[in-house]
Amino acid sequence: MPDDDGSLVRMAASGHGAAFSDLLRRHGQAIHAYLARRGGRDAADDLLSEVFLRAYAARRNYDQRWPDARPWLYGIARNVLREYWRKASVADLGGSQVGQPSASDDPWPDVDARLDAAAQVPELRRALSKLAPGDRAVLLLVTWEGLTPAEVAVALGIPAGTARSRLHRARAGMRLSLGEGSAPRAAASYQEA
């Protein structure tokens, strides 16, 4: 099996569909983790196959110069999540405290719910909530998925320079909100009884 993802995608695009399965088997865990961090584990279980199908359908759009397919796959996963949130929000079951789909394309409410579980870090939660959605998306792709700014640019479909500036702004915003070197303290909006 070729080491670089570009070769696998090229093989798939030329009719060797099994190569694409190899590619997705290689990155399946990472894509599932991306989905789980933002939509919860159950949503990730259900949406993973949709990401795979969308990726296969879009295989000819892959820039074969990209050695790592993860950013491209994250971008597809992001679109699948946005559709999931948008559709789910139409028939919102109500509630704002747990991992319900949000009312917009912004996955923040789900991320918020995730952080909510760790009630010991409300300051971190508030600081993240203050970031612009685009800045937050870049920060979480770097912090949670381990992408470089250039890879984030691929995932979000933005210029690399924009990704870098958003990351800089997000980090600065977090430091400003939290105070340089401060550690998260006890709960605020949710108080431990």
Binding site: G17, A18, F20, S21, D22, L24, R25, G28, Q29, H32, A33, R37, G40, R41, D42, A43, A44, D45, D46, L47, L48, S49, E50, F52, L53, Y56, Y84, R86, K87, A88, V90, A91, D92, L93, G94, G95, Q97, V98, Q100, P101, R114, D116, A117, A118, A119, V121, L124, A127, W144, M174, R175, L178, G181, S182, A183, P184, Y190, Q191, E192, A193
Partner: protein
């Protein structure tokens, strides 16, 4: 440890179940017509949601509905059989006629709806159990079961509700037990929209106008619970009044008669078939309601009217805090 390091740790997740990956790959392979020699035996043995990997749309719908119904049934099986049947497609049987005393009802939509409302009154002391399932392009998007007791209380009387939100896999996600009083606010909560009824109670800020009550919440996934006095958005309080309002707001006509899970039913529909309702031909209690919209394919409701026996009342009993769960305050 700085905040960004903490943020990174919060992003740690458990690896996906290999069966989930296998199922996703199988679905992909079905699409591309390839066989990459997966460990199919393992995948098939432990796969959690088989309807997501089948390519037949009809099979998807049947599997999802069955799984939702089975999940709820396993979680909270009523001690006494319900007075109306569960979810599922009706088989049409044109020989069925209306119940005695309802002459002409089964050929007139408005009269049928009037009979339904009368049935609510005659079963006012029952416990109403409603399973709400939302389905979209990706399969089931959400499931909630609500219990409400009594079905129709006098103004100022106590009404108890329980709402159980299930994960897409059918596991318990969130339970909410709300005790409030019947008020004029809840009586007009539905806004005439059937799709929106029987949502999950949503807490408002203390200054907002809503329904005051005592809410106990248990988050089974995140292992916390909370209990306290809250104000709940009126439209999100599970309410038979909301169901009555949505039924009376629609222009229903009788479209058929048949048998649904052994229960003879009358089928009604709104113009264009956007909403369809099946009511028991014997009691005229609603059995099933399906609402279709442009964004979410189907929202279905399965209704059960349970007699208020001690065992059934226990379905609404506020639970003790689960061991090991952290308590949060609203």
């Amino acid at each position: 440890m700085d905040a960004l390091t903490v943020l990174g740790q919060l992003g740690e997740v458990k690896p996906a179940d290999p069966a989930v990956l296998d199922a996703a790959l199988e679905r992909l392979e079905a699409a591309i017509g390839q066989d990459t020699r997966l460990p199919r035996t393992t995948a098939r043995a432990v796969r959690r949601r088989p309807w997501l990997v089948t390519t037949a749309v009809a099979a998807v719908a049947v599997s999802a509905a069955a799984a939702a119904f089975v999940a709820v049934t396993l979680l909270d099986r009523p001690a006494v059989p319900a007075r109306s049947a569960g979810a599922g497609p009706a088989t049409h049987d044109k020989s069925v006629t209306g119940p005695a005393g309802f002459a002409g009802v089964t050929s007139s939509g408005p009269r049928a709806i009037a009979a339904v409302l009368t049935a609510f009154s005659t079963n006012a002391d029952d416990i109403l159990a409603v399973t709400k399932t939302m389905r979209g392009d990706f399969g089931t998007l959400g499931k909630t079961t609500s219990w409400l007791w009594p079905v129709q209380g006098a103004r100022g009387s106590t009404v108890r509700t329980r709402t159980l939100t299930l994960t897409l896999g059918g596991a318990r996600q969130m339970g909410q037990w709300l005790t409030s009083t019947v008020s004029t606010v809840t009586q007009s909560a539905a806004d005439g929209t059937c799709a929106a009824i029987f949502a999950r109670p949503r807490i408002l800020s203390s200054s907002a106008t809503g329904v005051p009550g005592t809410l106990t919440a248990v988050n089974y996934l995140r292992h916390w619970w909370a209990r306290g006095a809250v104000t709940v958005q009126a439209a999100t309080v599970p309410s038979a009044a909301a169901l009555r309002a949505c039924l009376t707001s629609g222009q229903w006509s009788v479209t058929g008669r048949g048998v649904l899970h052994g229960t003879r039913v009358v089928e009604l529909a709104t113009p264009g078939g956007g909403e369809r309702l099946w009511v028991s031909a014997a009691t005229f209690l609603p059995v099933r309601l399906v609402s279709s919209g442009p964004h979410v394919d189907t929202i279905s409701f399965a209704f059960r009217f349970l007699p208020p026996t001690a065992a059934n009342e226990a379905l609404l009993a506020t639970p003790s805090p689960p061991a090991g769960f952290r308590r949060l305050r609203y």
